[in-house]
């Protein structure tokens, strides 16, 4: 992995950091609002796995921020570069498709983790959090961020226009994240929806992440690790193949 890779990674991080009020502060504020509203309504009424609702909600919001921002980072960077044409600056140099992939995905993970940490920092005052098994917290944050960063690369390359990217985001990413147990335990759902949720990989990301805080979860963290790890491998192979073929980037 050469200096070309590290420069692209650095540039991708710098790109979001230069506009941190939009890319970091705004999503942290949004999550904080979710927390204030939902906990105001539900705290004291709902306990999940014996955990107070606000405490249950916080890791879900943190992970949702990690995922959405990881996706946003690679996808918006790529579509902007394509639409403005400055994508040539990274296509002309001797950067391999593997380095290209890794730089975009890692920068997405960084953005996801930075926003997730911001949300955690802004919300952990509201309820006691356990940090019972921190290795799971880290593992699921990193893998979830990488998966969504990878999806962002796919969406950014596939979309020709901003509204196509918005469609990808609104009809795929948003439903998957909202219907994954961020706001509730899937055990509280009717059987049909419970079964459906078990087909949603994002459910395992959130559930495994939450397990790291409380030591309890809907599914076994090892099952979640297997599902999330499997998804990461599949998406990585798929995205690398797109890049190798030069799909939509090298006509």
């Amino acid at each position: 992995m050469g200096h070309g890779f590290s420069t692209l990674f650095y540039k991708e991080v710098l790109r979001f950091w230069k506009v941190a009020s939009q890319t970091v502060a705004a999503p942290v504020l949004t999550s904080l609002l979710y927390l204030l509203i939902f906990s105001h309504v539900l705290e004291g009424h709902v306990r999940i796995h014996g955990i107070a609702y606000t405490a249950f909600l916080i890791p879900g919001l943190v992970m949702m921020s990690v995922l959405q921002n990881a996706f946003a980072n690679s996808s918006s960077s790529l579509i902007q570069s394509k639409v403005t044409g400055n994508i040539v600056f990274v296509l002309l140099p001797p950067i391999s498709y593997f380095e290209f992939f890794l730089a975009y995905v890692l920068a997405s993970v960084v953005r996801g983790i930075v926003v997730g940490a911001g949300v955690l920092l802004a919300t952990f005052w509201f309820a006691p959090l356990g940090f019972a098994e921190p290795a799971w917290i880290l593992a699921f944050a990193l893998m979830g961020g990488a998966i969504l960063g990878s999806l962002g690369v796919i969406a950014g390359i596939w979309a020709d226009k901003f509204d196509q990217l918005a469609a990808f985001q609104n009809f795929l990413i948003m439903p998957l994240t909202f219907l994954s147990g961020v706001f509730y335990s899937i055990k509280s759902l009717p059987p049909f929806w419970q079964e459906l949720s078990r087909w949603n990989p994002v459910f395992y990301m959130i559930d495994g992440f939450r397990h790291g805080f409380f030591g309890v979860s809907d599914a076994s963290p090892w099952l979640s690790l297997a599902v999330v790890g499997g998804c990461l491998v599949l998406l990585t192979v798929f995205t690398l193949n797109l890049l190798k073929r030069g799909y939509k980037l090298r006509a």
Partner: protein, 303 residues
């Protein structure tokens, strides 16, 4: 003579458009080479194929002996491309853009060379300005600078002077000429044929994806253009003279190859009783060559 660029039997289709049709081209190291052709001839496509931005359907392309697909890292390290489109990254300043571009090519401490490029392109005072704040011509200069950060031995400029002022043209060409004298191979596309004529030692003309002319600038001028005697006269032009001339807007144009033909021509006109009101001599120019080649008067070069 080692080849800086070797293009062999390269074809490329976009849907039903044949953008390149079995293009063969070789540019020797140290040449100043012109790639001319009307809009849509395939110049940008050929450059893109060389840069790896477009994949040729068939044929092979090499930069300094490195295949652009099989050995793309070496090929790209040896090539600097100034794209035709005016593109920039609005997140960065001029200097940041150049440092990042250096990094992409694996170069760490490039400040001395970046300063030199900035100086030569008249960008020093804009070094810390954000890209968005620059005028179109200034952005064009930064594009040139970005193509040079890794000191590529082969530099390809795709219409670098489209829509830029006289000053930039002169600074740009002076700089590019110096680079050429220092041994860099230069390939240039432009629609300003006077520019190509004064800069390029050799020229290829593309039409509908095919190379329709390929020769030294001097030989192309000699072959397809001539001096012309242009005059405005009163009185009847003798028929034998009028048949070898073109007339437009009251001016007669007589092509000639040798200056010794001028005096007898003028003598005949005088003898016919014509009075000459105005007279000038036009030099052969590339525009005439270009028009005649595009009209199909050039033989297809043998493969």
């Amino acid at each position: 003579m080692s080849a800086a660029i070797r293009i062999q039997q390269v074809s490329k289709c976009f849907g039903s458009t044949q953008a390149l049709d079995r293009v063969d081209l070789e540019v020797a190291a140290g040449e100043f080479f012109g790639l001319l052709g009307p809009n849509g001839a395939g110049k940008t496509t050929l450059i893109s194929a060389l840069a790896g931005l477009v994949r040729a359907d068939s044929g092979s392309l090499c930069v300094m002996g490195h295949d652009v697909q099989a050995d793309y890292r070496a090929a790209r390290r040896h090539l600097g491309v100034v794209p035709q489109e005016l593109v920039f990254d609005p997140f960065f300043t001029v200097r940041e853009s150049l440092k990042i571009q250096s990094g992409y090519f694996g170069i760490r401490d490039n400040d001395a060379w970046i300063d030199e490029i900035l100086e030569n392109l008249g960008l020093t005072s804009k070094a810390n300005a954000n890209m968005r704040m620059l005028s179109g011509g200034m952005k064009r200069r930064v594009l040139v600078a970005q193509a040079l950060v890794h000191r590529p031995p082969v530099i390809v400029l795709d219409e670098p002077t489209a829509g830029v002022d006289v000053e930039l043209r002169q600074t740009l060409w002076a700089f590019i000429r110096r680079l050429n004298e220092a041994g860099h191979t230069i390939v240039l596309t432009t629609h300003y044929l006077d520019e190509a004529e004064s800069l390029c030692g050799r020229i290829a003309m593309l039409q509908a994806g095919r190379v329709v002319a390929l020769d030294t600038t001097a030989r192309l001028l000699l072959r397809f253009s001539s001096h012309t005697l242009r005059l405005r006269s009163r009185g009847e032009m003798p028929a034998d003279l009028a048949s070898g001339a073109a007339q437009s807007g009251g001016w007669w144009s007589f092509p000639f190859d040798d200056f010794t033909e001028v005096e007898p021509l003028l003598a005949k006109i005088r003898a016919a009783g014509c009075r000459i009101d105005d007279l000038e001599i036009g030099k052969p120019d590339l525009e005439e060559v270009f028009i005649r080649v595009m009209q199909g008067q050039a033989e297809t070069p043998a493969n």
